[in-house]
Symmetry: C2
Subunit: 373 residues, 2 copies
């Protein structure tokens, strides 16, 4: 029986791979950046905007949707697809990351994790069974197993204990998962120790999932450490399953993880930067609050053809951003999501052409030499 | 010589009139609601959105644009049209209303008005000459003469003194105004005294403008008092010039002023309501924060075909509004501007058909019988 979500690899260049992710809500060329729709909306963008941009998989955050509006309402609406109006592929995280990063108080046990809601401080418990059921209600194409995401600098012993518990949780998630038309992905943890990563990988792949994520990176360690770990894990993941790197969204980082064979990745960075007035370009980041843009009547990014770059000047967008005008946030978000989506499209072409590495080096040189505001 | 902005009346029904407002940036069927783009943007909407909605004249606020980004930058960008990307007709107010409603300290003299900026408390002076020059820089199709807008309950003597000064200012504005392709409108003041309104009307029309606004109403007096004053002024304004009622945006009020022969009107109400979660319908206002919408999977307004009403449910929009999500504000703003634009279009048809009064009564009964949340 084919899994609801599967990947077809169409080209390789070193470890990098190009392919097509098949889901019940359509197929997505990979590698692909997944925009984060935290509360059931990619901030400021309509489903129509995302379609025009060519976005592939859209993320939803189980933690937030569990509290607002609640999984029952989303289920009654026909899942996140019916609720938000986005007809393309979706993925929900397990909520675990938010529990460990947002919650002030939490109590971890074999059973699960107890924590205080960031909304009203009330006490809740997430268990593998609960987060699986909630994600079934949300009804995305891809659900994630509940994992613990310890800080990179936690004790080695803690990481060992944690990854084993995460594997036991993953097994319970798989046991609990019954929704047809939805795939469940497992998550490899293990901090920055090669042997622990190896142990987590082997425990997780032994359970067997439709896809695998690499978690617990991009959480405070250096970029070098992050890539070191990923280079150990990624090539050892099952080659016929999608590989998801959790939490990378800066252009250089995106190319680094693609280079190591990752197919999909997500991050709030492009959308969050936009709301702070920063835009991504091939010459680096540009903060429109910088005084030099007040009278700059050139387009936002002359190399970009998106809505924000064709109808407006930097001076106007700078004004909107300074005045905290909704339209500024909307247009910059549009551009940034468009930019990383196009970057992935271009990366894919380079993998197919077999010159990914050379192209990536050129990109990296240009970005680091460019304007950084 | 034809004025840059002129009106062609095509049908009358009682005092109500239907027509076409001709401007250097296109013609607009009247009566017409003018959405307010305070700082050079109708909050959350692109020029493309406004075009799809069928918006006619877009307003800009001279007070705000004077401070941010400043008239020099707007002028260098090719005026508000070039700056904002809106290619249709525009109107700027004189900034006077904001000086009198926002400024904490102000000093009024024959010369003009001194006030503290709402942005940083610095002291500035607006004179008829300055606000005219600033509006020439902003370059809208219609500029407004600087007026004083006293509170409705000010002493009669104060109103008399004020309307005469406003007339002298209007004369200085006309004197100062040199920009071709831009029309200057005068403003009738006079509070709630019929004879003072008459005096202001006669002083203002004696100076002679391309169009006339009725100001100083909708500022705290009762609806009955407002309409009483308007019914004295409106029919006595030159029939061949556009008539602009300043500050009405609720559907019932819009129809009331149309009934009295007004061609154009503006108000932040539809856009501001939207940002607070309220939508306009023919059954009255609906606040999406109301608990009953959490599980309401019907469209926002079943009688409306706008973007917000075709792709989303009340439950989803209610969620967005509760979570203060940008997309909620954007979509509700879209609907409300669309609603009042359509209302004007329908009013126009009824004037042409000669049954405006009967239709308006039906509308009024339905709105007042409908849901008010």
């Amino acid at each position: 029986m084919t899994a609801p979500v599967s990947i077809e690899i169409t080209a390789r260049d070193g470890e990098a791979r190009a392919g097509v992710l098949h889901t019940p809500h359509g197929s997505v060329p990979t590698p692909t950046f997944m925009p984060v729709g935290t509360k059931g909306t990619v901030k400021g963008l309509t489903p129509g905007d995302l379609e025009t941009i060519g976005a592939g998989v859209v993320l939803g955050n189980t933690y937030h949707l569990y509290f607002r509006p609640g999984p029952d309402i989303v289920r009654e609406a026909g899942g996140l697809h019916g609720f938000s109006g986005w007809g393309g592929p979706m993925l929900t995280d397990s909520g675990g990351y938010q529990v460990f990063s947002l919650a002030k108080t939490r109590k971890l046990s074999e059973e699960g994790v107890e924590f205080a809601s960031v909304y009203d401080g009330s006490i809740h418990a997430f268990t593998p069974e609960l987060t699986t059921r909630v994600q079934e209600d949300l009804g995305a194409d891809i659900a994630m197993a509940l994992d613990e995401c310890p800080p990179a600098n936690a004790e080695r012993e803690y990481h060992r204990e944690s990854l084993r518990r995460t594997a036991r949780w993953a097994e319970r998630c798989k046991e609990a998962h019954t929704r047809s038309g939805q795939s469940l992905f497992g998550i490899v943890q293990g901090g920055l120790s090669p042997d622990l990563r190896e142990e987590s990988l082997s425990l997780t792949t032994d359970i067997g999932f439709d896809g695998y994520a690499v978690g617990g990176l991009s959480v405070g360690e250096s970029r070098e450490e992050m890539l070191g770990m990923l280079s150990l894990v990624s090539p050892n993941l099952p080659a016929d399953k999608p590989r998801y790197f959790m939490g990378i969204g800066d252009p250089a980082g995106i190319l680094e993880v693609i280079r190591l064979g990752v197919d999909m990745f997500d991050c709030v960075l492009p959308t969050r930067l936009a709301r702070h007035g920063s835009v991504l370009t091939k010459d680096g980041r540009m903060n429109l609050k910088n005084a030099r843009f007040r009278r700059d009547f050139s387009p936002l990014d002359a190399e970009c053809g998106c809505e924000a770059c064709s109808g407006y000047t930097r001076a106007y967008l700078s004004h909107l951003v300074r005045e905290d005008e909704m339209l500024g946030h909307r247009l910059l978000t549009y551009h940034n999501v468009h930019f990383v989506t196009e970057l992935c499209r271009e990366a894919r072409g380079r993998i197919e052409a077999g010159d990914f590495e050379r192209w990536m080096e050129g990109f990296r040189r240009r970005v680091s030499g460019g304007a950084k505001n």
